[in-house]
């Protein structure tokens, strides 16, 4: 009886609150893979609970397109969007236009998330975004094809990947002229920065700019890494990989036309859906390593942030608190293979059943390599842009890796100017 009363009074209280201040929030969420639908499910659940309304707006697929849009809105101090989904490299770029979440979410709840990401999202002591899902590049492989060509394990090095992809491609081409060995993100955009950082870091070539702000990209190991990847394009990777973003690569993979793919974890759930040609044939492993190096995965992932100019900051923060909470993160992990940012969920039975590789690749997700976003601050975009363009020129064989990295070093120092 007591419980009934309690819940009744709670419902009444909720109703009173919702009547007092039902608001409409605008949410700029996701559009890649199942992103939009999953966002909508979560936001609708919160809206139903609180009596508020959440309006989702369609956003561009590619991360730099989104950033371009949001920078204009925030630069103009627009209140059009209340809640933004922001990339892991954005806090340094747009952080000053976002609300400090510490004022709205108790420290105990914040501390449940991976400390590295919380740290990443903290700019000048302000927690500008709540971790929503983390990401790291992984290697997808076709379990059926590996078996068919006599392999028992996914490749451990880039050399192995090249050999295996070559053999599988040669064999499959006999019946499928569209078949390719390996697809990744080779278009000139932020995605290429992520891929190339993985190659270079896995060869032991560092992270473009080191933590002290020194430009380190022009080194022998980085050049070696780019040489190896340049050799893959046009042989095991289609030449057109230089026009691929995440979704283009996934389309080739999901149509059953590739043996290996580098992508983010979201592609797992998408590939397991009804109607996918690779359903039930997907293996996921850590990316290969270079000679003498360790496998490296670029840290990705998205945060939820509240616009500092929002007219309903309290409700917006409540929505963020709900969406980044344990329950919703678990739902998203199970239904759409989004990596939680809460460590305990990696031991959750339901999560591991839905996405088995979360358990085995836990180290990959927690030790992912960060792009030099924090150290380069508001100039990160220029750095990333110069880097991806240089790598793109290498992939299209317009320049050799050595000279490309030398030119890039000069460019990065020019962007750095008197300091980051």
């Amino acid at each position: 009886m007591k419980r009934v009363l309690a819940s009744l009074s709670l419902t009444l209280a909720c109703a009173a609150v919702s009547q007092a201040g039902a608001v409409t929030l605008t949410f700029a969420c996701d559009s890649v893979g199942q992103g939009f639908d999953e966002c909508k499910k979560g936001a609708d659940a919160w809206a139903k609970r609180t009596g508020n309304t959440v309006r989702l707006i369609q956003v561009p697929k590619e991360t730099d397109q989104r950033l371009a849009l949001y920078q204009q809105q925030l630069g103009a101090r627009s209140a059009d969007v209340d809640v933004y989904m922001i990339d892991v490299v954005w806090p340094g770029l747009i952080g000053q236009h976002l609300l400090d979440m510490k004022k709205y979410i108790p420290a105990a709840e914040v501390n449940r998330h991976f400390p590295a990401i919380v740290q990443n999202n903290t700019i000048n002591g302000k927690l500008v975004g709540m971790p929503w899902f983390t990401d790291a590049g992984v290697l997808y492989y076709r379990t059926d094809l590996l078996k068919k060509y006599g392999y028992t394990k996914p490749p451990k090095t880039w050399n192995e990947l090249s050999t295996m992809a070559q053999k599988i491609q040669a064999g499959e081409r006999k019946t499928n002229s569209r078949f390719v060995g390996f697809v990744f993100q080779g278009k000139n955009y932020e995605g290429l920065t992520c891929d190339a950082l993985e190659w270079i870091a896995s060869f032991g070539g560092g992270t473009i700019v080191d933590s002290s702000g020194k430009v380190t990209v022009n080194n022998a190991k980085a050049v070696q890494a780019l040489q190896a990847i340049q050799g893959l394009v046009g042989t095991v990777a289609p030449q057109a990989v230089t026009t691929y973003g995440e979704e283009e690569a996934r389309n080739v993979w999901q149509a059953g036309n590739a043996a290996f793919m580098r992508n983010w974890p979201y592609a797992y759930a998408a590939g397991q859906e009804q109607g996918s040609a690779v359903r039930g044939k997907i293996g996921v492993a850590a990316l290969p390593a270079g000679p003498g190096g360790k496998p490296a995965a670029t840290l990705g992932g998205w945060q939820l942030a509240v616009n500092a100019y929002s007219k309903n900051p309290k409700e917006a923060a409540e929505l963020v608190r709900y969406l980044t909470g344990v329950q919703e993160q678990k739902r998203r992990a199970v239904e759409a293979s989004y990596n939680p940012t809460i460590a305990s969920l990696y031991k959750d039975k339901d999560v591991l059943k839905a996405v088995p590789f979360f358990g085995s690749l836990y180290d990959v997700f927690t030790n992912a390599v960060a792009r030099p976003a924090t150290v380069t601050g508001s100039k990160y975009n220029q750095v990333s842009d110069a880097f991806s363009t240089a790598v793109y020129n290498v992939l299209t064989k317009k320049s050799a890796p050595g000279p490309a990295m030398k030119t890039l070093e000069g460019q990065l120092n020019r962007i750095k100017g008197r300091g980051w």
Binding site: Q72, N188, A240, T242, D385, N413
Partner: protein, 317 residues
């Protein structure tokens, strides 16, 4: 019939005439003022503001206000000898070069093809009404849509053009005309030609239809063949329309943004001046630097127009 208006008697023709003229001018000015104000607000202010910003350092996200740095965005060398001005940066010159190649290639092809289409439609063939409507289709589709459509047709795994290219042996499996840096710009020119030739054809068709048909009859009587008629009669009389069309297309091509951006993004082998400007202005939030690029684009287009108008003595009236 009643008396026509002009026959109304006027007392002092000279004085009233001048007064009428003056009042007409006054009315005309009055009617023009709102338009001029609107023009000043939507065209003049942004232009002046851009020119002003090009002399400043201004990051829209981090700087509270623009900081005056004079010509620093155009030309500035640090103590270490590093050039920071846009005129010292190879990416800028690459984009200029790409744009020039794109402009020359596309405008040339569009003019030749457009003229051919216009001549065909202008001749008395059956079904020319249908033909005229049909060639307008590419022009009527919004650029965003047609660019994405072509992007898919060029796609290496399911695009029809890549399929043909692969069957005919121009392309290997996994290749497309867009993925090869040597053919990417040509592939973009092809899209532009497909899209804009109808516009050219329509402008030229309008020019053709102003040529009186009795001139051809006279030429026939004089025994000139069709070829001579084209070179001696059609082309000279079409020149004014042709020049106006050329200017339109050239200016459009010089500031092209949408189609190449949708199809190729900011890939270095196809980046145009406008895409480069957008990258610095919007993506990198460098409002001062980006404005300098915009001003340069403005100047280049202005120079082109001036050369066209003066050297070819185009008359707009």
């Amino acid at each position: 019939m009643t008396t026509p208006l002009p026959s109304r008697p006027t007392a002092a023709p000279a004085r009233t005439g001048r007064g009428l003229q003056a009042s007409r001018t006054r009315v005309a000015l009055l009617l023009l003022v709102p338009m001029l104000l609107v023009l000043a607000a939507v065209a003049g202010y942004p232009l002046l503001r851009t020119i002003y910003l090009s002399f400043t350092e201004y990051n829209i996200l981090t700087d509270p206000a623009p900081k005056w740095i004079g010509l620093g965005n155009y030309w500035f060398t640090t103590e270490d000898g590093v050039g920071l001005g846009v005129l010292q940066i190879p990416e800028w010159w690459q984009s200029v070069w790409n744009t020039v190649k794109f402009t020359v290639g596309s405008v040339l092809l569009e003019t030749v093809l457009g003229l051919a289409f216009a001549l065909i439609i202008n001749s008395k063939i059956r079904g020319r009404g249908l033909l005229r409507t049909a060639i307008l289709v590419p022009w009527a589709i919004p650029t965003v849509v047609s660019a994405q459509m072509w992007n898919w047709m060029y796609n290496d795994s399911f695009g029809i053009i890549s399929d043909w290219g692969q069957r005919l042996g121009f392309l290997q499996a996994g290749q497309s005309f867009l993925s090869n840096p040597d053919t990417a710009l040509a592939a973009l020119i092809a899209v532009d030609v497909w899209k804009t030739t109808p516009f050219m054809a329509l402008l030229l068709l309008a020019g053709l239809q102003t040529i009186p048909s009795d001139m051809y009859e006279a030429a026939d009587v004089d025994g000139a063949n069709k070829w001579t008629q084209f070179w001696r009669l059609t082309l000279p009389l079409l020149t004014p329309a042709l020049l106006v069309a050329l200017i339109f297309r050239t200016l459009d091509a010089l500031r092209v943004f949408d189609m190449p951006y949708i199809v190729k993004g900011n890939a270095p082998e196809t980046i145009t001046m406008s895409i480069y400007a957008r990258q610095e202005l919007i993506l990198n939030s460098q409002f001062g630097f980006g404005s300098a690029i915009s001003v340069l684009i403005f100047l280049i287009i202005m120079v082109f127009t001036a050369i066209y108008v003066t050297s070819l003595r185009v008359k707009f009236d």
